[in-house]
């Protein structure tokens, strides 16, 4: 299937997105956040938590923030204090950074913002540590490339399945079972509360609600389990988790270190759906995406969510606008086209006449606007009901739209969407649905040729026009104001409110971020 779009209109849309994003990008360069600073520590290898489960990175960052603030970056005071610790001949074991964190938590470290030579020394120590972390990420990226070459996935769309038991040890067999049944990507959904936690929990966890905590150890356990099953199947099974939330930069870092393959990472989801402060989200997002870029991780954006609160026809153009913004922010952070799993969804009211043709129009518009991005195609959720048979039917047409329009990542819909988090059997049935559609009608797209002035093409062009109009308005008013006004997903989120605002800091003039420095040195790819 193909669609003709006016190239000047497309170019105009991109230009408007870039100019709308520009002021926000400037803001991200003027700020840092507590999570970015903790991510610097994580990149340097600081793991573990205290007896109450508070991670050492939080302990250390809190201590620094309290004594000297984080506006200079955490690196300067911490690597300065590390040098002091070394000079003081304190027994540090294998891990001086953790020792420092423990001592800081006990209140026995005095931090300062080093100046002059001390600052240079701290900076170079921090850069060395950051470089070690980035190298580990580079090794994981190469390991992925090797495994993908050895166990290739040569079909599209990739089949994406969710696992969400809340218990990593239940998740593992379910994920393996799903992979055996044909999943190319396993996403471990997070526990409901996690995105508003201002720390990343530690260790293997069994106590999530409607999802499992994202922890470094859980990442490891699941990646190892999927490596096993990849080998068994001769097909590299990708692992996904969620970066969005108050700890986006840290989780992005952990994902790179533990070789996750894709990450949910939207420039606005946290603002809209978690009421996280806009500046916090945009700033975190930029750092997190720089890490993803280096790690070779594919991001997934969250435009699908808008259509759960707004109407999928009325708000179709807001999806397009958000995709263009996400694309621009992503490019600015160094991500390449193949890493852009831009989101959209099959959420039109199924009672609407021609609803399937409308879905095709929207899906085709995204496909045509972003020809090189592996679009993430999300199943019906809003209009799913307890009628599981009807649900199975809608999912079939979702699958059909996905294969007909060449979507890259097919998030498999569940007939129990309105009832429970997916059961083992739901996944199995859902995959059967996908397989049938791909096998029976996967190449039907060759027979589809929507007329240039027909229903589908006309609708697609209309949505693009609406998107351009909206971008013009955003460009005039400013993106932050548009968000405050409920432009996306009908959610009103002013820039001076929202969770995590207290963790946003204007950078000082001597702000130092060794991770940013190392990433700027050049990529591994």
């Amino acid at each position: 299937m193909r669609l003709q779009l006016d190239p000047t209109q497309v170019a105009r849309a991109r230009a408007l997105a870039a100019s709308a994003a520009a002021p926000v990008l400037t803001l991200t360069q003027q700020h840092t956040t507590v999570s970015i600073e903790r991510a610097v520590l994580r990149m340097a290898g600081l793991e573990g938590a205290d007896a109450e489960g508070i991670p050492w990175v939080n302990r250390l960052a809190d201590a620094v923030a309290e004594q000297v603030g984080l506006q200079h970056g955490i690196a300067l005071p911490v690597w300065d204090a590390l040098q002091a610790q070394r000079r003081a001949d304190i027994a540090v074991g294998a891990d001086p950074l953790r020792t420092l964190a423990q001592r800081a938590a006990a209140g026995s470290v005095e931090f300062r913002v080093p100046q002059g030579r001390a600052a240079a020394a701290a900076t170079s120590g921090a850069v060395r540590a950051a470089r070690a972390g980035v190298r580990r990420i580079d090794r994981q990226r190469r390991a992925r490339e090797r495994l993908v070459a050895r166990y290739p996935v040569d079909h599209r769309p990739w089949i994406y399945l969710i696992v969400a038991t809340g218990d990593i040890h239940e998740d593992v067999p379910q994920a393996q079972a799903a992979a055996r049944e044909g999943a190319d990507i396993i996403a471990v959904i997070r526990s409901t509360g996690q995105s508003l936690l201002d720390y990343v929990p530690e260790g293997a966890t069994r106590e999530g609600y409607a999802g499992t905590y994202a922890t470094q150890e859980n990442f490891r356990i699941m990646r190892a389990a999927l490596d096993d099953v990849s080998k068994e199947l001769g097909r590299y099974v990708r692992l996904t988790n969620y970066a969005s939330g108050l700890c986006m930069p840290e989780i992005a870092t952990l994902a790179g270190l533990e070789r996750l393959d894709m990450m949910l990472n939207d420039s606005m989801y946290g603002i809209l759906f978690r009421d996280i402060n806009p500046i916090r989200t945009f700033t975190d997002q930029h750092f997190a995406r720089q890490v993803h870029a280096r790690a070779g991780i594919i991001i997934n954006t969250g435009e699908d969510n808008y259509l759960t609160t707004a109407d999928a026809v009325d708000a179709a153009h807001t999806v397009t606008v958000s995709q263009l913004l996400n694309e621009h922010f992503a490019k600015q952070a160094g991500l390449e086209d193949w890493q852009l799993g831009l989101g959209h969804a099959f959420e039109i009211n199924p009672d609407l006449p021609d609803s399937f043709r409308l879905e095709l129009a929207h899906a085709l518009l995204a496909r045509t606007l972003f020809p090189d991005a592996p679009l993430k195609w999300m199943p019906p959720t809003k209009h799913m009901t307890g009628d599981i048979f009807r649900g199975y039917l809608l999912d079939a047409f979702f699958n059909l739209a996905g294969v007909l329009t060449g979507q890259g990542i097919l998030l498999v819909g569940m007939m129990t969407e309105a009832v429970v988090t997916p059961w083992l059997s739901d996944r199995d049935l859902a995959l059967q649905n996908v397989r049938y559609v791909m096998n029976a009608a996967g190449r039907l797209g060759e027979d589809l040729a929507p007329a240039d002035d027909g229903f589908i093409a006309t609708r697609a062009r209309h949505v693009l026009d609406e998107a351009v109009e909206l971008l013009e308005r955003i460009d005039d008013d400013g993106l932050l104001d548009a968000i405050a006004d409920g432009t996306f997903g009908l959610m009103r989120r002013p820039a001076d409110r929202g969770k995590g605002l207290e963790g946003v800091l204007p950078r000082a003039d001597d702000y130092c971020n060794p991770v940013a420095t190392v990433l700027a040195e050049g990529t591994a790819s």
């Binding site: 809340g166 055996r180 409607a210 009832v419 429970v420 083992l424 199995d428």
Partner: protein, 246 residues
């Protein structure tokens, strides 16, 4: 209509039902026998195991059809019928104005880690639900919608601050009975914070609640799937403004 009925597949009284489930055993004849045993324990006899599919080496999925031998006794059905008159917005406003003589104050929230605001918004926001306007549209209500993921202490504090007549809480996530635990935590906190007489009316809602569990959970009322704003408004008038005509 008969007081005792049976499920209807293709003929009156045939008792036919459909069941599906997974057993954590490999697919073989024994597994099919196990499925038949479970069906028998559910009262299905004869049970036809019409589909059995291995899901990996450790699980088998089954579809079973058969005649269930239970009778449904309509006399014993417990239903929470609407025990208050359904009012129009006009009547609601008139009753509040005339009898309460001040706005009825409502605080709404999704508590705990639940962020599904669409349901509570459907009841509270002007936009409303199924063609009916939400409570914000009514002159008689003063609505404070606190939004998603509100910690219980914050909710209690807000209810006290604005002198809420009623607190409306939404719970959509039910995995591991999250909705029940959160509701219990909430009612305990209100019991602790308010003397009985000044405690606001506690109302919870969400698609997977059992409406008959109100007492058990310590709330005044539960609203389930498909609730409309007018039902909620009418209930609040009935309980807070009291009986009487507009």
């Amino acid at each position: 209509m008969s007081r005792v009925i049976r499920p209807y597949g293709d003929a009156t009284g045939d008792g036919m039902v459909q069941v599906s489930f997974t057993l954590p055993i490999p697919h073989d004849k024994r597994a099919e026998g196990a499925a038949a045993q479970l069906a028998a324990k559910m009262g299905i006899d004869p049970a036809l195991v019409v589909h059995a599919k291995a899901m990996g080496p450790d699980f088998t999925f089954f579809v079973v059809y058969g005649r269930v031998n239970h009778l449904v006794e309509l006399d014993k059905v417990v239903v929470l019928e609407r025990d208050f008159p359904l009012l129009t917005p006009k009547e609601v406003n008139a009753r509040i104005k005339k009898q309460l003589r001040r706005p009825l104050v409502v605080v709404g929230a999704c508590i705990g880690t639940d962020a599904h605001t669409v349901g509570i918004d459907a009841i509270l926001n002007i936009k409303g639900f199924a063609g009916e306007k939400g409570l914000e549209y009514y002159a008689g209500f003063e609505v404070h919608n606190l939004g998603a993921q509100v910690p219980v202490p914050e909710l209690v504090e807000a209810a006290g601050r604005v002198k809420a007549d009623a607190v409306l809480v939404s719970q959509v996530v039910t995995q591991r009975d999250a909705h029940l635990h959160n509701t219990e935590e909430m009612t305990a906190a209100f019991r602790e914070a308010f003397p009985r007489a000044r405690r606001p009316l506690l109302v919870v809602g969400g698609p997977r609640f059992d409406e008959s569990m109100a007492e058990q959970l310590g709330v005044d009322r539960i609203f389930g799937r498909g609730t409309t704003p007018a039902e909620v408004a009418s209930y609040l008038v009935h309980r807070i403004v009291g009986a009487g005509s507009a």
